[in-house]
């Protein structure tokens, strides 16, 4: 259980950095700003408190998740390889920690560093938006359920990207490679939709695939971001009138299911870390 000591040390170290406070302030401004603006302009007046509340959450979701992805990359890409290069890893590993403890401790510590300001400012932002919307939004059962579900989902999302970027940090042998790998993954996610469309066009010009492109679903949900959104939309729309819909519902194939997306999500959480562990475990420091 010595990863707890590593996580606590890492958290302690990180909350003393200027970066952390800058992060907390930007998180707060972003969340309160979006929630406040949405509540103030109230574009969906008269559609009912439940609907207003759900759209408030979905409005906050997109900028917050993208911001978390960037922040995770910035905070985590050097977590292992940086300490390795600088020599603080020797201090860490001269103590009775296994290399697995170090990786797990880093993931938990850094996830905590992101989760504390993220959850705090989301509660403030959603609360402010709901109060500004007025009426019974703040007491709408659906709004509260979606908000709670969303906060849990955000924790999963943080775990997802923290473990990906810590994993990358354990796989590579230099900080510059960690930067390159992290940026590559982020860029890939932004252009993933375009890449798939191009692929579809090229394949469509070569083979006759019209009307038979269900397998595209698998490609679409292959990125961590898209897999997460698929699972989030499927879950929230199953319990409420959440505006986002899982794309699986539009595809008629056995594998086109949020369960597949959940498996992809799980693989993204586990695989980079597993490969990182395997590389790091066998490395000469």
């Amino acid at each position: 259980m010595s990863w707890i000591a590593v996580a606590r040390k890492d958290f302690r170290d990180a909350i003393r950095s200027r970066m952390f406070w800058a992060l907390a302030i930007v998180f707060g401004l972003l969340s309160i700003g979006i929630g406040g603006l949405y509540g103030h302009f109230d574009v969906l007046q008269n559609t009912g408190a439940t609907n207003q509340g759900l759209f408030l959450v979905s409005f906050v979701q997109s900028p917050i998740t993208i911001f978390i992805m960037f922040i995770s990359a910035i905070i985590c890409h050097k977590s292992i390889v940086g300490e390795w290069e600088q020599g603080s890893l020797k201090l860490l590993l001269s103590l009775p920690h296994t290399r697995g403890d170090v990786i797990l401790g880093k993931i938990v510590g850094r996830a905590g560093v992101i989760a504390v300001p993220a959850i705090g400012s989301l509660i403030l932002g959603l609360g402010l938006g709901a109060v500004l919307l007025g009426g019974s939004v703040l007491t709408s059962v659906d709004f509260l359920a979606v908000s709670a579900g969303f906060l849990v989902a955000i924790l999963v999302y943080i775990a997802l990207f923290v473990s990906i970027f810590v994993g990358i940090s354990a796989i590579v042998r230099s900080s510059s490679l960690a930067v390159a790998g992290s940026i590559a993954l982020i860029v890939l996610q932004f252009f993933w939709g375009i890449i798939i469309s191009l692929l579809y066009l090229i394949l469509g010009a070569t083979f006759d695939i019209s009307g038979n492109a269900d397998w595209m679903y698998l490609l679409r949900i292959l990125m961590p971001n898209t897999a997460f959104n698929e699972v989030l939309n499927a879950t929230l729309s199953a319990i409420t009138e959440w505006p986002g819909k899982a794309t699986a519902s539009t595809v008629d194939a056995v594998y086109a299911s949020p369960v597949t997306a959940a498996v992809v999500l799980l693989l993204w959480i586990v695989l980079p870390v597993a490969i990182g562990y395997w590389r790091f475990e066998s490395a000469d420091l």
């Binding site: 040390k9 170290d13 603080s88 020797k90 103590l95 009775p96």
Partner: protein, 303 residues
């Protein structure tokens, strides 16, 4: 009991660089062992293998009766380490650092007592990033002492320390040794290990070229002592006569002082030879080979 045992320890990096070539070594429990060698001789590689930072290409290392690889976590639980080329956590205070070790080793030491022992009593709540190199070294030494380890591994502990810091390290090593702790420390400066070590091992280009007490090494190295004779009325013949004695070399004379390298037992012959040639000797002194010269003889000379 054996504290450290190395059998045929070999380490090659990337197939081409050989850091260690079949090192055999045994350090007994309670011993203070100095591990010497110039930079790049393989000292840090050896220590890195003891801590499982680096895996040997062949051979075996055991620490406190445990396998250095398979039981590394237990080895490090019972060992205090001052690593080489480490970096402290700039934003954390000295207290935080020691608390981290206490928590990691699941012991209940008092951070204040630990820091006072290494002379950081007045810097307990200061950030380690603001520390001088010497203070960082003291902090890391303090971290190594947490949990009353059975073995202390100190890699170049004097780095960055002023003379009083070096003195403090020496005192702490002696205190720990008195408590029965085995101390294994490396240095490229021989005089630093002389005062504290029971035995030393000298590493050169990945090979252990000598393991002995300082006195034993001195004898084995056979390095000559320097004899200085205050003398008047020295003629060239007198100098030639001294030079021709067996066990005497490099005889020279200037400013009323004759200097020569002599082996044990030859110095009285020098004095006698001078007086036989009409010179009058007023005083003489011998200076044994300095440890540095001895060290040079081992690390540079063709053994």
């Amino acid at each position: 009991m054996v504290a450290i045992e190395l059998n045929g320890l070999t380490k090659r990096y990337g197939g081409s660089v050989t850091a260690l070539r079949g090192v055999d070594l045994r350090v007994d429990e309670g011993e203070v062992f100095g591990f010497l060698g110039p930079n790049g001789a393989g000292k840090s590689t050896t220590i890195n293998i003891l801590l499982d930072f680096v895996r040997p290409t062949s051979g075996r290392a055991s620490v406190l009766g445990l396998d250095a690889q398979a039981d590394s976590q237990e080895v490090r639980r019972r060992t205090g380490v001052l690593p080489e080329g480490y970096k402290v956590y700039d934003r954390l205070t000295a207290r935080h650092h020691v608390e981290f070790v206490i928590e990691s080793k699941a012991v209940d030491d008092d951070p204040v007592a630990v820091l006072e022992r290494v002379g950081l009593g007045d810097a307990i709540d200061r950030k380690a990033g603001d520390f001088s190199k010497g203070m960082k070294q003291r902090l890391t030494l303090g971290m190594a002492l947490v949990g009353d380890p059975d073995l202390l591994i100190l890699d170049e502990p004097s780095t960055g320390l002023d003379p009083s810091g070096v003195q403090d390290v020496r005192q702490i090593v002696n205190e720990e040794s008195d408590r029965g702790t085995t101390v294994f420390f490396s240095s490229h400066i021989l005089s630093q290990v002389e005062a504290v070590c029971d035995r030393v091992g000298i590493l050169r280009e990945g090979e252990l070229v000598a393991v002995d007490t300082i006195d034993g090494l001195r004898e084995a190295a056979g390095t000559q002592a320097t004899l200085r004779v205050m003398v008047e009325g020295v003629t060239d013949e007198a100098i030639d006569a001294v030079q021709s004695l067996s066990g005497v070399s490099n005889a020279s004379f200037s400013d009323g002082q004759l200097t020569a390298s002599v082996e044990d037992g030859a110095k009285m012959q020098v004095v006698t030879a001078l007086e036989d040639h009409g010179a009058s000797v007023s005083d003489f002194e011998t200076e044994e080979a300095s440890l540095e010269e001895l060290f040079m003889a081992y690390t540079e000379g063709a053994q």
